[in-house]
């Protein structure tokens, strides 16, 4: 299981979206890593990629709205990391289409996404939770 309870922030909306994101990334990885031929799995890979492009942007905007609401001082720095990731996802997606759905690029994308997501949720997002608890506003969104 990819999701770990220690990733929970204690903010219902964000935790729900994180779990969904992890569930989708896990499904994406399982498809990528399966023994099926690339031709057999490329359709599913493409569907998940398209979903993530939309969902990641939506989730990041919800997370940024929450940070703004609680007055999180690291908002701009955090937003920069979100923007860089969105840019990366879009660039890879464009390149992938141009290359005719190249497997190697998608395997590289999957690996980086995995490590980035775990670090972002386990480290960067936990800082938001620590701030919210410290300021006594952790349950404001619940």
């Amino acid at each position: 299981m990819f999701w770990k309870d220690k990733y929970q922030l204690g903010v219902a909306l964000i935790d729900r979206e994180h779990k969904e994101l992890f569930r989708r990334v896990e499904a994406f990885m399982k498809t990528l890593r399966s023994n099926q031929s690339w031709e057999d799995k490329v359709h599913e890979v493409n569907e998940t990629l398209e979903f993530m492009k939309v969902y990641v942007v939506e989730h990041f905007s919800h997370e940024e709205a929450y940070q703004e609401k609680i007055g999180y001082p690291g908002l701009q720095e955090h937003k920069k990391k979100h923007d860089e990731m969105v840019e990366f996802v879009m660039e890879v997606s464009d390149q992938y289409k141009k290359n005719g759905f190249d497997q190697q690029l998608m395997q590289q994308f999957g690996g980086r996404l995995l490590a980035w997501l775990v670090n972002h949720v386990a480290v960067e997002d936990q800082r938001i939770a620590s701030y919210a608890i410290e300021k006594g506003v952790a349950n404001d969104e619940n």
Partner: protein
């Protein structure tokens, strides 16, 4: 020879492995003891700013596979594009953490995107050291080669 830059690299590596992989059994080990027998995945991360140079991470195959297995919860049987890319991102994250630690010492640096392979450079570095660690999932060694700008 350990330079003054050894500690932030060791601390950053320890911090990232603890947080991301839940590893607590991280110990220093000498570069001479680092297992050269295994095939290593080498990742170079360039540094610019007050310190300029390159950090080369060496991840033996078993370490790379174990890292990605812990992260993904899935079995990995070879260091392929997926594994190499995930491990490159780990090197990127460790390097980013080093930058944060260095900024506390008023050193402003930035990192370049990770590149697979050992850098081909004959350049001389005034700060050259190795930082190797051992854990229950394998060893990791950092070759740190930097000059003050």
């Amino acid at each position: 020879m350990k330079t003054e830059l050894y500690t932030p690299f060791l601390d950053a590596t320890r911090q990232v492995l603890q947080t991301m992989l839940d590893l607590s059994d991280i110990a220093e080990r000498s570069a001479e003891q680092f297992d050269e027998g295994q095939e290593n995945l080498e990742i170079a991360v360039g540094m610019v700013g007050d310190l300029e140079g390159v950090i080369t991470y060496r991840f033996p195959s078993n370490t790379s596979l174990n890292i990605v297995q812990i992260l993904s919860g899935m079995e990995m049987d070879s260091v392929d594009d997926f594994v190499a890319s995930a491990v490159s991102e780990i090197a990127n994250i460790i390097s980013g953490t080093v930058m944060t630690l260095l900024s506390a010492d008023h050193l402003t640096c930035d990192i370049l995107p990770p590149v697979q392979g050992r850098p081909d450079s004959q350049k001389e570095y005034t700060q050259h050291t190795q930082c190797c660690i051992t854990t229950s999932i394998g060893d990791i060694c950092l070759d740190i080669a930097l000059n003050r700008a």
